[in-house]
């Protein structure tokens, strides 16, 4: 008996002796909310490759853009979590109820396309990371597809999610790498505080990709549903708002460190040709193991997002249709829900297996998201402006102006680049 008692009581004592700062950190981790999770979900395969590409191609020049994007992300995420807390409904349901059926259907088609693009980039991430371990993507991607489908439909998803999340924590090595890589502090600061943009097609396209990967439409849908799932009500919304704002800022700080670390390591060498180059940024931390460490983290992040993105698509579309949606249902009880999930997975994996450069494919998927983002943001903005939806919690005049400017700027940039791209084809 005493042998059993001792370790437990010893543990208790150890907990009591924890230093104050560690307790604070643990306390912070304990209130990890939907806001933080969803913003960090932005650092998926698409995100990491796009940020690394930005650092490699343009050095620190995109940093000011990231600051602007962070402001927009905070504004958008706050509206989404407010919509979730005050209406008790996800964005899919709100769009069906508040917009004419045609506009609602158009929004869902756009969401499906944007998320299918993301799923492609996640599977490309799986393939590329396994190739760093020496496994062909023609083996890795089909295996990942079967694995993800089985884990999700057979109901051990929550356990797998934790494993993927922990694997993705590897990317917290980026801030350390950014400091150890001796970036030019003056250049970093001046780029953070003042724009150093280039008027070139490549820069504009990358800017849209950065917007697409940071203010991803799927994150907004995911966040709103997560807030509803958590049972946040107007009374408890204040705490949720802190979580959402913190999450958006913290997620983007990690993104900014990815750009700084990559810029310090291989900045100005031109666009990324393969994913192995991106791993060079982790060399200050991991040395020769950088490539494997990067591949490990990328695999975790890709697998997580390759599951979450199709899931959030089928949640949103099932919600719009009003049919039962839940992972706790069996395949036969929720055929529509699992059907959309399966279609998106298969389409994503198939396109990711097409021959071509994985990095290019991933960036194109983010550009596609960048084009669709402002359209879906407009729906969110209209919903959050409506007093008939949010009552007194609807956007006030100042917030409304700020949010409108954010959406308009993102929209103008996307439209400009889209017109330029189409004109380039003609």
């Amino acid at each position: 008996m005493s042998a059993v008692d001792t370790p437990a009581s010893g543990q208790n004592r150890r907990v009591a002796k924890l230093p104050r700062w560690l307790k604070a950190v643990l306390g912070l981790l304990a209130i990890l909310g939907p806001g933080l999770i969803s913003a960090n979900a932005g650092n998926d395969a698409g995100g990491i490759i796009t940020y690394a590409s930005a650092g490699a191609q343009f050095g620190y020049r995109t940093l000011f853009l990231m600051v602007l994007i962070t402001v927009a992300l905070v504004v958008v995420q706050e509206m989404c979590s407010r919509l979730g807390a005050y209406t008790g409904q996800g964005l899919g349901a709100l769009i069906r109820e508040q917009f004419p059926l045609r506009s609602g259907a158009a929004a869902m088609v756009l969401l499906f396309v944007a998320n299918a693009g993301l799923t492609v980039s996640e599977f490309a991430g799986v393939g590329a990371s396994m190739e760093l371990f020496g496994v062909s993507r023609y083996i890795a991607v089909p295996l990942a597809l079967i694995g993800i489908w089985a884990v999700t439909v057979l109901g051990t998803y929550s356990r797998a999610e934790r494993v993927f999340l922990v694997m993705g924590l590897v990317f917290l090595a980026y801030p350390i790498a950014a400091f150890l890589g001796h970036p030019h502090a003056g250049a970093v600061l001046s780029n953070l505080l003042w724009p150093h943009f280039l008027h070139s097609k490549a820069f504009l396209l990358l800017a849209v990709a950065l917007i697409g990967t940071t203010i991803t439409p799927y994150m907004q849908f995911y966040l709103t549903s997560a807030v509803v799932d958590k049972g946040v009500t107007p009374k408890t919304y204040k705490a949720e708002r802190i979580d959402t704002v913190n999450g958006a800022i913290l997620g983007d700080v990690v993104s900014i460190f990815i750009i700084i670390a990559t810029a310090a390591a291989i900045g100005g060498t031109g666009p990324l040709n393969n994913i192995g180059q991106a791993a060079a940024a982790l060399e200050p931390v991991a040395g020769a193991a950088a490539s494997h460490l990067f591949a490990f983290g990328l695999l975790g992040a890709s697998l997580l997002a390759a599951t979450v993105v199709p899931l959030s698509t089928s949640y949103a579309i099932s919600e719009t249709a009003g049919v039962e949606r839940s992972l706790s249902r069996k395949l036969r009880e929720a055929p529509f829900f699992y059907g959309i999930f399966t279609v998106q997975l298969v389409v994503g994996a198939a396109i990711a297996l097409l021959p071509g450069n994985a990095v290019e494919l991933v960036i194109h998927a983010q550009v596609l998201n960048g084009f669709i983002t402002p359209i879906l943001l407009t729906y969110i903005l209209i919903l959050a402006n409506r007093r008939s939806v949010l009552g007194d919690a609807a956007n006030g005049p100042v917030f409304r102006a700020v949010a409108t400017v954010c959406v308009a700027v993102v929209g103008c940039l996307s439209a400009f680049v889209l017109v330029q791209t189409v004109a380039g084809w003609l």
């Binding site: 209406t87 069906r96 009003g322 949606r325 008939s388």
Partner: protein, 264 residues
């Protein structure tokens, strides 16, 4: 060895293979008959129902045929007594503003015509009364949940029918066809094909987006129009899945037969 003799005795007409094939044929024949019956029922229903989706946005004209505005919504009176709520008024948009016209000034005909009865009538301002349910806003596209709280589907269309001297809300269409009809071109919207229609009589109450833990909701309507409010049925999701056009036709036929008896 001899040869195979074909013998016949009662109770041993067919070998097992043949009888299963026969059963399959019989099943197919029954299926075809059911389909034909349901198609007839749907056709008959289409002739007597008005579709809310087709009515919305359609032009309302006065007795001389001049357009007075576009129909924006239909108001029914929520009731705990009758099975079907009666249409009380319509909300008309004249381009600049909305106003309400009482049902007594209106003439309606299937599938989607609303005309004013006289060129002089009383039009009120838009104001919500406690028992009012505004169909396009409060019911169309809202979440339907079954008796066990399972989310079934969202209404794709609402059907109105002439009953006695008024127009009543009789059913909720939940089929995919109705959804496609609304997404497709406007002029095809009047081509009704009732498919899976839930009898309005099985609606019990408006329910909030999240469960408020009130088991005795009764036929409550105070949540109508709130963001996230849905509708609860007294049936299960499985029953809704098996709905056929003939079900609502039977319910309507019964009602009309009873009326005939009343007036005689």
């Amino acid at each position: 060895m001899g040869f195979n003799r074909v013998t016949w005795s009662p109770g041993h007409e067919r070998n097992p293979v043949e009888s299963s094939r026969f059963r399959e044929l019989a099943r197919l024949r029954r299926q075809r008959e059911t389909r034909a019956r349901e198609s007839t029922a749907a056709h008959a229903l289409a002739g007597s129902l008005m579709s809310l989706a087709a009515l919305l946005g359609s032009e309302v004209s006065d007795p001389d045929g001049r357009s007075v505005g576009r129909l924006r919504d239909v108001v029914v009176h929520w009731t705990t007594r009758g099975v079907y709520p009666r249409v009380k008024a319509i909300v008309l948009n004249s381009g600049k503003q909305d106003f309400v016209i009482g049902a007594r000034w209106l003439e309606a005909a299937p599938p989607a015509t609303v005309r004013l009865r006289s060129s002089r009538m009383y039009a009120g301002s838009v104001e919500r009364h406690p028992a009012d349910v505004v169909l396009a806003h409060d019911v169309l596209d809202r979440q339907l949940v079954d008796a066990g709280g399972v989310q079934i589907v969202r209404p794709a269309d609402l059907y109105l029918a002439r009953v006695r001297d008024g127009i009543e809300l009789v059913g909720i269409e939940v089929g995919t066809r109705a959804l496609l009809r609304r997404i497709g071109p406007k002029r095809l919207r009047t081509r009704l094909h009732p498919d899976r229609v839930i009898d309005w009589g099985s609606i019990t109450a408006f329910v909030p987006a999240w469960d408020d833990g009130d088991p005795h909701r009764g036929r409550r309507s105070d949540l109508a129009g709130r963001a996230g409010a849905g509708l609860a049925l007294d049936r299960t999701a499985g029953e809704v899945k098996r709905l056929k056009p003939s079900d609502i036709q039977a319910a309507l036929g019964e009602l009309q037969a009873k009326q005939g008896g009343d007036s005689a």
